[in-house]
Amino acid sequence: MASKDIPLDKEKKRKRTLKAEGIPNGSGDGKLVETKRIKPEPVLKQESDVSLFYAEEEEVDERDPEKDVEHFKAACSNIKHAILEIRELKENKASHTMDDIEKKRVEATLQFIALKKLNRLAHIRCKKVRDSTNEAKLRIDKYHLQLQNLLYEVMHLEKEITKCLEFKSKDEEIELVSLDQFYLKAPAEISKPEVTQHDQHQQTLARLDWELEQRKQLASRLKVSQESKAKVEEDIRMKQEYLENLQPKLNTILQATKPVQDYLGMPFDEIREQHQTAGYLPLPLFVLYKQSTAYREACDNLLTVTIDGDLDAAKLVDLSVPLLDEDSESDQEEQEKKASKRRRKTVDSKLSDKKHRLLKKHPLSVIIQVGCEDGSALHLTFSYLMYLHIVTVSIKVKQSSEMGNSSVSGGDLLSEDSLLDELYPGDHGDTTPNPTNQYQLARNGLKDFSHYIPQVGQPYRWAQWICGLQYLGEGAPQKPQEIISCGSLQGTIRKIRQRFRARSSLLQQLSALERHSVAVSGEYQSLFPVKLQSLVVSWQRSTFEDFVAAPHTRSIVEAGLAKDNDMFFIAVIERGTAKLTARIAVAPDYPNVAPVFSVLVQWQSERCSANDSHIKNLEEELNVHYDELVQEKSCDYLLTNQMQRLIMCFDVYLETGENSAKEGPSEFSREKVFSRTTRGRQRAKPYKYCAELGIFTHR
């Protein structure tokens, strides 16, 4: 740069000198100088040879700038000197001075030419330097570009290198046999231990080769196995076909034996079928089936026992696995609870599904048909609730043709829920006999079991017994015990039949009573006199509420002799002006539990057991001494007989009543024969009829 500066300084100097030169000449002079300076050159160029101009450029290279500076200084001082001399001469004002001045001026002007030359040289030099500088600059740029290219290339290569380094070979993913095993198992031509022991790469290659070899072997083995499998399958198929073809043939043989069986009266097939089906029954029902079949064969041929239901579904039911994984159920439930509302629908459906599952019956059921002599029959369908471990009963009544007469007041006598109510005292069949069930139901968010009875049937206790089930306290239901079933079956069947007969007969009696006739059957005629004056004028169904509401029934209700599951009736008996209203409670276990009568007599005044001891005695005749009205053989006509006795006692009551009419004869003439009309301190009336003598006596 210093070399560059120098010419610049020179330039400046030269310009200054130029200016300084021009100042004395004024501005017009300066212009003139310029034009002079510029003009001579092209003239020079034009006039002289062009090479002369270039010669100056070459001259620049030859000349030493330092010397030029000295030349410049010398020229300048010469000019100065000349100017000074001229001034001196002018001041001296000598005549010759004019020449001297002229001479001096020429000299000085020559000096200016030299200066001009120097200036030109300086310019050329300056240009040259600039050119060389530019040249150097270009060269630098070029080098720089080259450098950058190289750096980029380096970077690219480095990237390539890392990529290469990161490359993973496929063989790394393959799990190879261990090295030891490889050398042990692989043949030498593959393992080539001498090479591979030291060369890791070769070793890996060898191991891969060995792997390939082994895989090839295994593939071929697979192929062989598949072939043999297909062959075996074909074999199986053929055998299956053969067996399937055998079945129809066997069936035809069985069919062919049917007529023979029928002819000989030995329905082996049916029995066997039933027995085979029985094998799929749940254990309690199996016990029932077995015991009831045995009972039927031994002593009761009016009983029929059949199995009903979907046998195929039963085959799928596996009773051995725990059917309900309750823990997971509850977990699931909790999860469901957490689930958002939009899932509620599915939760609901799941719950109902679960409910359905909990109350699920075994697909098979045992039907016991209890027949009666008159042709009517009771169908008892026993089902087993698999998850609740209880047996339920559904009842269907098949009435015989002669039982056609229906009764308004006793329409529900043969209904499903009342027919077998209290077969054993307290057994209403409305709660589950298995104490565990309440917890199971509660856990699954179900209501009390009684809500589901219409759906599943009634779980009477006796039904559990005859199926051999019993529940002692809490805990898992025990295994069905045949001995329990055995011990209760006969009694229960007898009770059912008895109940059914009693209800049928009660229905007939009610129907007769509705027609206001008290139809005493022949065997009981002797208990009553032939002629009775009082008449039944009304017979109606009533309710427990009505029974309780009547004031004269208070003592009976308090004594617990009328319960809300009884059937209630109101009978009205009249004779003349006297009217007797009897409220009757018939227990479900009729006739084992005798109907209870509560009597109100309206005759002159209202009389009932509370204010008239005779009425109390009358009630006692009906409510306590009813056993005289039934015979060992059948007690089915108890209600009719009680009604007849009520009518008879009412007659007695009226005929022996005090003649309260102050004048005239009593309203009711004595048509019966009494030994005494009153007896004892109670002045009791002779309500008891002595059939042999046809007279009324006291108890």
């Binding site: 066997r272 054993y424 005292p425 301190r681 002045r683």
Partner: protein, 369 residues
């Protein structure tokens, strides 16, 4: 089939669970019998009651032929529970039905039913082993008719044999010597059955009958009645709507007054003049029991009240009770500590009044199964 055979093994398993079922079933049998027991309880009528000689026990007899013995001490104890109000011992005293009267002597408890009078030893009864000591039979005069005994009393005199008087359904009063068991007399004259008899004096007795008369007899001989009262004919007493029967009679200790009641109004008769002096009005109710107690008269009948009267005919008090028809009121005079008044009638509950003015509690005449 295999399963069919296999399952027979259950038959050999131990039979202990059966016990549960059988227990349950026997409970059911009990339940049913309780049903009949409850019915009997509802229709129980207690006709008579008496206290033991020691005064600690009450015996009561009902229409089903049972005699129940209650411990008064236990029932009166401060710690008494419902159980202590049940009989300590109950036994069947009559096969034929109702026991109409019950009396107690120093050692015996005597009950009368239909046709028979039986005696038990108190000591046996209290040790819960009843054994009939002796039985008297009322002579039957008709077939198909067993006369009932409606009222008995024992006349014990120091110099004479103990006589038992019984007013019976055959219209007669039979007199037995209980030492020998022989019938001494038969007092005949009533035209209908005898409701009640009472001792008038050592030699006389009074009887009330269904025929409407009250007769006074000389017990020493079997003659006609010495006196006959007919309340139903007396204007002040007659109540035709209730009949003419006389159900109860009482004579005061001074032997001056006789009170009787029944269909006609209850009335007091002055014996010296044989005039009716006072009536005791009980509208709508017939008196079935009369007793003199100190200077008052206690009567009860076909309503759920016990009446206490002054001799002038004013009602001292009417005490409500459980039975709707009262047949017996008994005061325990044997023991001062157990001095109670017991009311029995057409209810299984025997009311006990410690203070005679109100009912304290009830004893329950339960019948064993």
């Amino acid at each position: 089939m295999a399963k069919f055979l296999k399952s027979t093994k259950y038959a050999q398993e131990p039979d202990w669970p059966i016990a549960g079922v059988q227990n349950y079933r026997s409970n059911m049998k009990e339940a049913r019998e309780r049903g009949l027991a409850a019915r009997k309880l509802l229709y129980t009528t207690v006709f008579s009651q008496c206290f033991s000689p020691c005064g600690k026990f009450l015996a009561a007899a009902n229409n089903f032929g049972y005699i129940a013995v209650f411990s008064l001490e236990a029932a009166l104890a401060p710690a008494a529970t419902d159980i202590s109000k049940n009989p300590i011992y109950t036994f069947k005293a009559s096969e034929d039905g109702s026991i109409n009267c019950l009396i107690s002597t120093d050692t015996l408890i005597i009950s009368a039913s239909y046709g028979t009078i039986s005696a038990w030893k108190w000591s046996d009864v209290l040790s819960r082993a009843s054994k009939v000591l002796w039985t008297l039979t009322i002579p039957k005069r008709q077939p198909f008719f067993t006369p009932e005994v409606n009222s008995i009393y024992i006349n014990s005199q120091e110099d004479m044999a103990n006589h038992l008087f019984a007013g019976c359904g055959d219209n007669n009063i039979h007199v037995w010597d209980i030492e020998t068991g022989q019938e001494v007399h038969c007092l005949q004259g009533h035209t209908d059955y005898v409701h009640a008899i009472t001792k008038k004096s050592d030699n006389e007795c009074a009887s009330a009958s269904e025929d409407g008369t009250v007769r006074i007899w000389d017990c020493r001989s079997a003659g006609e009645a010495s006196l006959i009262l007919q309340p139903f004919k007396h204007e002040a007493c007659a109540r035709p709507e209730f009949g003419k029967w006389v159900g109860c009679v009482g004579v005061d200790s001074g032997n001056d007054w006789l009170i009787c009641g029944g269909g006609p109004r209850m009335s007091a008769w002055y014996l010296r003049s044989l005039t009716m002096s006072t009536t005791f009005d009980t509208p709508g109710a017939c008196q079935q029991f009369i007793m003199f107690n100190e200077d008052t008269v206690i009567s009860a009948g076909t309503e759920a009240f016990v009446n206490h009267w002054y001799m002038n005919g004013d009602c001292k008090s009417r005490v409500p009770c459980t039975p709707t028809s009262v047949f017996s009121v008994a005061i325990n005079r044997e023991s001062e500590t157990n001095r109670v008044l017991c009311v029995a009638g057409s209810s299984a509950t025997i009311d006990v009044c410690t203070n005679f003015g109100y009912k304290a509690f009830g004893l329950s005449f339960t019948i064993p199964d």
